[in-house]
């Protein structure tokens, strides 16, 4: 890694000039004086690598050297730190590897890259003695990475519950507030720029799951495999589910849950979940993110802010840049505390235990509840409440059950059996219930 005196500028090579890249560029310029005052050194974008250098650019970057693609960036002698904001997991992986091999610290906001290939990248970083910073990869401007990694270094993490995808939270908030369908809320999110033209990565739950994998790795010291993560998106959340949940005192949120059981088995899940309205997470609306961290010493803490967008995300990138630059000017430090496999085993998804909300559309006749209850009872699944609203349509009626804590495998099996009952007229809808109690 290069070393510098305080009077020299630390030079940044910026790969990617999309929404966040441009935000980093502009905000570094806007607060240049403040940053220099606080850190004691100057941060300067030395060059920018873009896919198509002929494409028209925002006038604010006109003074900067534009490289033809990212391949030149890692080797450029005028680059001290590489910022990866090109996205994806192929080219981004190659770029980060090239930068690390060139002994240059890397700053990235790429959650998919870390969730899928973090293990390889951090190994390469260690071999080359240079750090990777990734505060921008989880929850935009909220400094949750630093908090879990350093602020709570003395805590065994009991659990993390997070609303960490702003697109899904916006859609679910609009469905609940306006009584509109998923598709209508999605279209609205796209109009406002809160959802991509292809929203799959967000609405499938995978964007949030990538972030959950990163948080789990910091909390429990190993990279959980994506196939061991239980991921459900919001595409199948119906307005009926949201409205019945509301009547029962719950709000539906795309919740990511990370926790270890008493044997140290780690569970990582992202799925639409019922959250009690009395809990502060239920009131996190729109594109905001919130994360509840429960540590064995610190107790329950909450962190809230904008989880995406040009400015909040660039706030985190700039904080990482300042830290990376400090290692160049003042000498290397430990690159954040990273646990080394203290736990390291993931819990089989079917064994994860939770309460569930189950919505059936059944024949409006006596005996149906008894048949459903028998299936559940045979699998040792308790029922904590039943709601049978007087809403008969064409001879069928809704039947809402709140199920007690039970393993996912048992619940899934029971619901398959229930779905096959003659009296059950539609595919059952079921959602996790998160009581937010230990």
């Amino acid at each position: 890694m290069a070393s510098k005196s305080r009077s020299q500028a630390v030079r940044i090579g910026l790969a990617g000039l999309g929404n966040v890249g441009l935000g980093v560029y502009k905000n570094l310029e806007k607060n240049a004086g403040l940053l220099r005052e606080r850190t004691g050194f100057k941060l300067e974008v030395s060059c920018v690598a873009v896919r198509d250098p002929k494409k028209p650019r925002d006038p604010s970057v006109s003074k900067t050297r534009i490289l033809n693609g990212w391949r030149e960036l890692a080797a450029d002698p005028e680059v001290d730190i590489v910022v990866e904001l090109i996205g994806g997991t192929t080219e981004a992986f190659e770029l980060v590897c090239a930068a690390l091999r060139a002994k240059k610290p890397v700053v990235t906001g790429n959650k998919a890259l870390l969730a899928e290939r973090g293990q390889e990248l951090f190994k390469l970083a260690e071999e080359n003695g240079v750090p990777i910073y990734f505060e921008a990869a989880v929850a935009g401007g909220i400094p949750i990475i630093q908090t879990v990694q350093e602020g709570f270094v003395g805590n065994a993490i009991r659990s993390i519950h997070g609303i960490i995808n702003g697109t899904c939270n916006y859609i679910l908030t609009r469905m609940a507030a306006q009584g509109v369908s998923y598709w209508s809320a999605l279209a609205e999110a796209q109009q406002h720029g809160f959802a991509e033209a292809d929203p799959t990565l967000d609405v499938s739950g995978w964007d949030a799951a990538h972030k959950a994998i990163i948080l789990a790795s910091l909390s429990y010291g190993f990279w959980i495999k994506p196939e061991d993560v239980h991921v459900e998106g919001i595409q199948n959340v119906s307005l009926a589910d949201i409205q019945f949940a509301d009547r029962l005192g719950y709000t539906v949120k795309l919740l990511s849950v990370i926790r270890a059981d008493e044997k140290g088995l780690v569970e990582v899940r992202t799925q639409p979940s019922l959250v009690p309205k009395t809990h502060v997470l239920a009131s996190v609306s729109g594109v905001y993110n919130a994360i509840v961290v429960n540590g064995d010493i610190v107790g329950e803490t909450l962190f809230y802010g904008k989880g995406a967008g040009q400015d909040p995300t660039s706030s985190s990138v700039i904080s990482d840049l300042a830290e990376a630059a400090a290692t160049i000017v003042y000498g290397p430090r430990h690159s954040g505390f990273v646990p080394h496999g203290l736990y390291g085993k993931s819990k089989p998804v079917d064994e994860t235990v939770s309460r569930y909300f189950l919505r059936l559309q059944v024949d409006d006749q006596p005996g149906v509840l008894a048949r459903v209850a028998t299936v559940l009872g045979n699998r040792q699944i308790g029922i904590s409440s039943v709601m049978q609203p007087d809403e008969e349509t064409a001879g069928t009626t809704p039947l809402i059950l709140m199920l007690d804590d039970a393993p996912l495998g048992a619940v899934r099996g029971a619901i398959e059996e229930i779905a096959a009952l003659d009296a059950v007229r539609e595919k059952p809808a079921w959602l996790r219930v998160e009581t937010m109690k230990e």
Copy 2:
């Protein structure tokens, strides 16, 4: 500063074995394996300094060397890091100075010490090339120091609004929820161990003000003088104020406000304030703390958790210890980014602008409102709403006014004049109204 290999233990000298000191000791033992796994080194309490070594101790510290007072601690050859948890500003100041002169990093949770003598101490730390860590000084287990100093290093801080004294928040929460008087809620807080036998430092607002001074120094790069801080305690908050505020849609909180105006003049205030019930700060109850930080890039963020107590505070001390130890094992780093006087001017208290709630007890006769309004109008203070509840007692009645934004000096002058009106029968009660809007 000493340097060490990873296999050697980093040795801690703990000054003070009160509530927090004992928590640090116990939690370091409890999570020793985890900490070693995460940091790569061993943290070990080498000795403890107490005022009276003959006093009976918690059995958990029986294996540790007990020093007779703190004077030996800084010089002890088996101490690498000094933890100051003795409180107060005299002996604590001497201890920290001695440790810094001995080139030993210091960890402290002493907000009064930093607020009153931070400038001298940080100068001495710089001269000796050793850091001072103080995460535990503000908001217990919430890592707000690191967040403001590092996480938001790229942001100009627009404002910070915080509920940062758990004792006061507990008292105000109980008054509102149970309809009891200040004195009765205070007695209850004392019974539960949430208030000291002498609660002056907390209820006077000064504990919160010390924390606000520390946050202001990180945000604006200078140590505001305690005499430039506007501090009011909760002793004079009446149940009537809380109940009328409630009817107007507000909750009364002891709020600390730090902000800079467009000219860079910095305002630091701690006072009972009306917070709109729709804002999340209004729902922070009991001994919890919450801090809203508004940065020019990141936007509005919120941090919430237990603001005091043995465990949450020791979580922050341990995180500082890990960081301090890392500088010994892995070599020094910048000790957090500290701004160097970019702004540096405090706003005269009388020029700080706010809305106000004014409660009068007046003669129940026509013309009183006109006289009050005339006094306010003469000083250019607008009235946004008036409530005259039908609650006549012995010929007098309450008159509640919500005043528009006005400078404190003008409001104070007007209220003195109003107090002198014949028709005004009691000392006027007035509280700041915080709209939480920019």
